[in-house]
């Protein structure tokens, strides 16, 4: 859910004069072979302004940001900094002009320490050698500014994703960026870390740093932004001032049509118990024994802070991180899963958190990705059944409205939302009894998110039990029949729908007792 709202910031000083535009784009156009990604987009940014840029996947947000940050250059149109036209020759040039881009996928060397990463390429020197003590001292300052309390000698690879992201931000700040472009910065952050980040953003904004904030989390946009620019299909679709920022309005502009209720809060019939977890111990947190049940047709959300062990629990249920104790009971069989193949046999399916590393073989065709789990079942004495493979592909692409020029397209060329649908398609082809979803809508645009929510509901109606992990409070509250909350490797508690609220979830997630 949204962090507590704070005072709105003024971007207009007392004299009533608005400061000159820090960054301006006019008529930015960019084409790639076969497609026009941006068709004359305008952008305005003042010092200290927090501008949110929202739009569906493929709307052109990434391309626009890459142009602003110097990664690519525009074909037509004009970019101005402080009123002067510029054309960046590369990232260095843009950085030199004060524009820094913080990627969604982190750009850190995880075998080096924090200070080394912050000063990579600009290490302070003394007599030609690196001045490590100065580096560490300065790094500590920057870390303080982003509220990250780790020693600068810490190896980045040992930090959680959330902390790594804060290092990235510290790095950008250390080059005195005047414009920080953040691409989905909170997708891997816990609630607490998100609030930390917001505090940093507000602080920077007050100091005159402008922030361009790309996010699919409209709640955050509402809490943070002074203004919102909406892109759709490579064009400006609207601009919203702070007082007019509302969820429905944003979605309407993004999608171009009225979108009915985001989460449908339907009362669901749940059936019998279909899975029992009995004292299961994950290798990640072997000191805690997990106990819970799942009924067919119910959707259970799993909430918790980053590091609470939610992903690890799903991985143990699915057998990829075999349990070190306890057992599971699924539809009449009691066992302790030792491999994914075993779990699949019992009717489980896992849509993993990291779809590119664990969910898809990126260089393989969509069709082949979708059949991967069902090859064993559909084989004819060891031979591939191309017919059923084609059936699965046709059905899933149609049912889930996967946008692709062909089913032989490699999975890596799809947008995040479509990639997620391919992974789902793979598992739905197996007709699972129990569907485990790990952050099913992370990094996905509004339209695809809706599709996935509708799909979850349809499956639940058909009797599938769904257990989904999510870091988005809205999602947990909006989609769950009940929620399980984890805290540091153990199940802190469960909440029925009626008692689900941001407070009650956070209470348990931070180790408190049930309210």
């Amino acid at each position: 859910m949204n962090p507590a709202p704070t005072e709105p910031l003024d971007s207009v000083d007392e004299a009533g004069l608005s400061p000159p535009l820090l960054l301006e784009g006019r008529g930015i156009t960019k084409s790639f072979p076969g497609v026009k990604a941006l068709k004359g987009v305008d952008l305005k940014l003042s010092p200290g302004e927090v501008l949110a840029v929202i739009g569906e996947n493929g709307a052109g947000k990434s391309t626009l940001m890459k142009i602003l940050a110097g990664v690519q250059s525009h074909d037509e149109g004009e970019l101005r900094i402080d009123g002067q036209p510029v054309r960046f020759s590369g990232v260095e040039d843009a950085l030199g002009n004060g524009i820094a881009l913080i990627h969604q996928e982190l750009n850190l060397a995880d075998n080096l320490d924090v200070a080394a990463n912050i000063f990579l390429g600009r290490e302070p020197r003394r007599f030609g050698l690196m001045n490590t003590s100065l580096m560490h001292a300065q790094a500590s300052d920057w870390l303080q500014k982003v509220g990250l309390r780790v020693p600068p000698e810490t190896i980045v690879g040992h930090l959680t994703i959330g902390h790594q992201q804060l290092v990235e931000i510290a790095k950008a700040l250390s080059v005195n960026a005047r414009v920080l472009i953040m691409d989905e910065p909170t997708s891997s952050l816990s609630q607490h870390e998100t609030e930390q980040l917001f505090a940093v953003i507000r602080d920077l904004s007050a100091k005159g740093v402008a922030i361009v904030y790309i996010s699919h989390r409209l709640g955050e946009v509402k809490a943070l932004a002074h203004r919102v620019t909406v892109l759709r299909d490579g064009e400006n679709a609207g601009s919203i001032e702070k007082q007019d920022i509302h969820h429905d309005q944003m979605v309407r502009l993004m999608v171009g049509r009225d979108v009915s209720q985001y989460y449908a809060l339907k009362e669901r019939q749940t059936g019998e118990v279909i899975m029992k977890v009995d004292g299961l111990r994950t290798p990640h947190a072997p000191e805690h024994a997990l106990h819970f049940e799942l009924r067919s047709g119910e959707i259970v959300g799993v909430a918790g802070l980053v590091g609470a062990g939610r992903t690890e629990m799903l991985q143990t249920l699915f057998g990829v991180a075999p349990a070190v104790g306890g057992s599971m009971w699924v539809a009449g069989r009691s066992f302790t899963p030792q491999s994914a193949a075993q779990a699949i046999e019992c009717g489980l399916a896992l849509v993993p958190e990291d779809r590119k590393q664990q969910g898809l073989v990126l260089e393989m065709a969509i069709k082949e990705n979708m059949s991967l789990a069902s090859l064993r079942r559909d084989q004819r004495r060891g031979f591939l059944d191309f017919g059923s493979e084609q059936d699965i592909a046709d059905r899933m692409i149609a049912d889930m409205r996967i946008k692709t020029p062909s089913d032989m397209q490699q999975a890596q060329y799809l947008s995040g939302g479509n990639q997620q649908k391919v992974v789902l398609g793979k598992w739905l082809a197996m007709k699972p009894r129990i569907l485990l979803l790990d952050e099913p809508t992370r990094g996905i645009d509004v339209g695809a998110k809706q599709d996935i929510y509708r799909l979850m509901e349809k499956l639940a109606e058909q009797g599938v039990a769904i257990l989904f992990v999510s870091s988005e409070m809205e999602e947990i509250i909006g989609m769950s029949d009940r929620a399980l909350i984890m805290h540091e490797g153990r199940l802190a508690g469960g909440l029925p729908r009626a008692e689900l609220s941001e407070q009650s979830v956070m209470q348990l997630a931070t180790g408190g007792d049930r309210p």
Binding site: F32, V35, F318, Q357, V361, E363, L372, P405, Q409, Q410
Partner: protein, 329 residues
């Protein structure tokens, strides 16, 4: 698909060039030898192709050829084992080697490079040991066995003394067809292709990746063993100190040229065979053409492989940017 056209194109160019540059190239005797060598190297290249598809490598192939190539005649002549027993021993030896490689790599998570490098050293050393470093051969006996390597099948209308298709050629065709069916039409081939690109995702999809990797190393060792038998049958005289030396490099080069990326998950059997053919035509060219000094053989081959791989990368990037644009609808 595009890769096949590339390698076939290069092959035809080199073939035609060699034919133009040397009058001895298109002679029946030379063609017979060329086809024979292509068949032998083709078989071992297919074996290493499977391993490369799993994003592994096998450096021990040459030494396995030495072990089996010297070991078989040794078993038959020095130990006087009967033919069936000797064949059985050889078969078991290759299975054990493949299993050893596969298990060390999957269970102990050792690097394929390291494991097979040790194999390269150990198997040859072992062979030199039990043969006393003596040359091995079949002599004039074992005619039925030797037919497998020396036999020729006459083509209609052409007398056998002039030209005949070597028996190993038919063995290659058989192996290639079986391998291609296995790779492209069975679920196991699909598993190998998937796990070669992304072992984690394959595992998360319920594939027994460890078992499949062991299978790949078994296939490789098995075909290396078969190659070893055919190589010794061809020359009928092998010195353990250098029999099969460097053959793994030819095999790997053929596989890479034929489309097996060392990153795994890619490759076609036909491509590998054409790659093997290309390697042999190149060697032929260097030997036959007067003004190319034979001692730069390795340099020429290395250069050709590099050019082939670079061209492949370039084509891939061009195709990739087109694909990206096509998807951003």
């Amino acid at each position: 698909m595009k890769k096949i056209y590339g390698i076939t194109g290069i092959f035809m160019v080199v073939f035609i060039l060699t034919a133009l540059m040397s009058s001895s190239f298109l002679t029946p005797y030379n063609m017979e030898r060329l086809i024979l060598r292509t068949s032998l190297f083709g078989i071992i290249s297919i074996g290493v192709g499977f391993v490369i598809i799993t994003s592994g490598i096998d450096l021990s192939i040459g030494s396995v050829i030495c072990l089996i190539g010297c070991g078989l005649p040794w078993l038959l002549t020095k130990l006087s084992l009967s033919m069936p027993i000797a064949i059985l021993v050889v078969l078991l030896a290759t299975l054990m080697i493949g299993l050893l490689h596969g298990l060390l790599i999957t269970k102990l998570k050792l690097q394929p490079f390291v494991v097979t490098l040790c194999g390269l050293l150990m198997y040859r050393g072992l062979t030199r040991g039990f043969t006393g470093d003596q040359t091995q051969g079949f002599g004039q006996v074992f005619k039925e066995l030797r037919w497998l390597g020396e036999g020729r099948v006459a083509l209609p209308g052409i007398p056998l003394e002039t030209f005949g298709l070597p028996v190993p050629f038919f063995i290659l065709v058989l192996v290639a067809i079986l391998a291609s069916i296995f790779l492209n039409r069975t679920i196991y081939g699909r598993y190998l292709l998937a796990l070669g690109r992304n072992e984690q995702a394959a595992r998360y999809s319920g594939i027994h990746t460890d078992k499949m990797i062991v299978v790949a190393y078994l296939i490789c060792a098995g075909l290396a063993g078969l190659g070893g038998v055919l190589f010794i049958l061809d020359v009928n005289s092998a010195q353990p100190v250098d029999f099969g030396n460097f053959y793994e490099l030819y095999a790997i080069a053929a596989a890479v040229l034929g489309g097996c990326s060392l990153r795994g998950g890619q490759g076609t059997i036909l491509g590998v065979v054409i790659g093997a053919a290309l390697m042999q035509v190149l060697r032929n060219m260097i030997t036959l053409v007067d003004w190319i000094p034979t001692h730069i053989e390795y340099a020429v081959i290395g250069a050709v492989i590099l050019v082939g791989v670079v061209a492949d990368e370039v084509v891939k990037r061009v195709a990739s940017s087109r694909q990206i644009a096509a998807s951003r609808q």
